[in-house]
Symmetry: C2
Subunit: 333 residues, 2 copies
């Protein structure tokens, strides 16, 4: 668990795109985002109060979160200055960078000297068990995609937020570094040793109240040859009661795989449901989430209506239309 709330470090982010993690925290856990701190040449602005490290502490921040991708894959000297001072002042630091905090001798030394914690959320901090498949109490919902980066995290986040708004019991369960930084905990599934993947997902989604829903962040796609094993572990380890199919309709090929066409929603439904039934015979496909960011409002509405007709399932873009109808669909499960 990463201690909240956070001060969000934007560094010298060239633009908003590089600040994806910080944006996610601001949008999904605004109560965790006390303020932002930037270097002079920063091109990103979250619209939060710009603070010094000292001001962040006074406002209650416990952890400085690196909310930005670093350039060149290394933690620069300019960043180091801020990070070292943060440790000295009493912050923990959390990061999802490939360049691990714990690989930087000066940061490790400073964290030990000042009794602070470095959280590298990209690597597992737990020895996960082998999955047992034993049925768990409570309900679980997993988003599965026709492709990677089709909106699975957004869908799970939006459904969790809608449940909270309605006063229902739910938890977003992060399986990637962005989700872990947003919520403060989770499993970095793509970095787990193969034999323990499904066990890590079971660990992440333990027994719960019968009327509680876990919204498990999906990863990869059963149809993406690079990462399908990770998706498979989510389908079996997650023991989902409900699947949400996610799709981005303007893709011409699978992400990063120019020779590979996307499967149809029907193909995704059939394969995902067959496999999910192995761990939970009662699983159903509850709805469909379309990422319509590259469509106009009219196109988006028409596309969702067409899919809804073809598939016989509530179909929305949670970003445009809200996640209400997807959450409605869970009520019957």
């Amino acid at each position: 668990m990463i201690e909240t709330p956070y001060l969000l470090f934007l560094g010298d982010a060239p633009d908003m795109l590089a600040a994806k993690v910080a944006i996610g925290i601001r949008d999904w856990r605004p109560e965790n985002a006390i303020g932002q701190i930037s270097l002079p040449n920063c091109g990103a602005d979250l619209g939060l109060t710009e603070m010094t490290l000292e001001e962040g502490l006074e406002a209650g921040a416990k952890t400085l979160v690196v909310g930005v991708a670093n350039r060149g894959g290394v933690i620069s000297e300019a960043w180091k200055e801020v990070l070292l001072k943060a440790l000295e002042l009493g912050y923990d630091i959390a990061s999802g960078l490939h360049n691990l905090l714990s690989d930087e001798g000066d940061l490790v030394a400073a964290s030990l000297m000042h009794g602070r914690t470095l959280h590298d959320v990209r690597i597992p901090s737990v020895q996960y068990p082998i999955a047992t498949g034993i049925p768990r109490s409570g309900k679980r919902c997993l988003a599965v995609g026709t492709d990677c980066s089709a909106g699975k995290m957004y869908t799970a986040m939006a459904m969790d937020a809608e449940m909270q708004k309605r006063g229902l019991k739910s938890t977003f369960r992060a399986t990637g570094q962005t989700g872990i930084l947003i919520t403060g905990s989770g499993v970095p599934l793509d970095a787990v040793i193969a034999d323990f993947m499904a066990g890590a997902v079971e660990y992440l989604t333990p027994d719960n109240d019968e009327d509680h829903w876990d919204f498990i962040e999906g990863q990869g796609s059963l149809f993406h040859v690079s990462y399908s094993g990770v998706t498979m572990a989510l389908v079996h380890g997650g023991q989902p009661d409900a699947l949400i199919l996610c799709h981005e309709p303007t893709r011409t090929h699978m992400r990063g795989l120019p020779g590979f066409k996307l499967p149809s929603l029907q193909e995704l439904r059939d394969v995902a449901l067959t496999l999910a039934k192995v761990s939970n015979p009662n699983v159903v496909v509850a709805g469909i989430s379309i990422n319509t960011q590259h469509l106009s409002d009219e196109e988006a509405t028409a596309y969702c209506a067409k899919v809804e007709e073809e598939m016989g399932l509530p179909t929305v873009d949670p970003y445009r239309h809200g996640a209400g109808r997807l959450v409605d669909a869970l009520a019957a499960i």
Copy 2:
């Protein structure tokens, strides 16, 4: 690559069951098995010449292979004495034990002092790439099972041996520690980081002659909730041209999962074929391998005939009937 031939260390194996790795080497790569070396109270005997370390060296052995599971999960003092002397005399050591050779300070020190190599085949020694899915030349055959430990390695080994006997081009590609020790190389897939599993399988089975077959050692099962992610990576990373379905007909539940029934061969065929077509649209199910070790000769023959009739595919137990008909089935692909 582990240097061959081997002297097989049987230690104080309580019985033959504990010497599974050594038996595999003797049976599948007899040319690699120069002799055996046992401690006084050893209950296993491979029928190879019992040798001292010095005699093994004279006979040409390059590597001392730990061919036995250790008791209590630790490398005992009695074993250490032999292993240290082996390094001193000029052997490399190879092991698939959980207790790594490289975690033993005295073994590491001795290997450095004498310029020898410690091979812990249970952990990856390579930084594998992310899978690309790019079509590869040559042919690949993957055994997939209704369950774990259904005879997938045996099937691949037997098909490879049959190909060699016929003077055809083929390679067994090991994906587990036993297979790696038998053949001297491979990928310990269950120990690979999730994101790189499919890439490791691509790395293991590169472009080859068009008439060359890779027989890829299967792992887990698409229907085994603990390990299905590993199997998925084999199906997509392996880009198989042919699948062999493996089944052990007397199992009452999935191995290690008392609540889980085995899928039917039809279910396995349908799911495996659908998923395998993602990476290779031309893949076919070529045959069926039945592990009949718990059936009589008559029962085995009758069972295989029944499955062959139902599934319309050549069905044999390669151990009883040979792998000839399975290899025949590849000729048309």
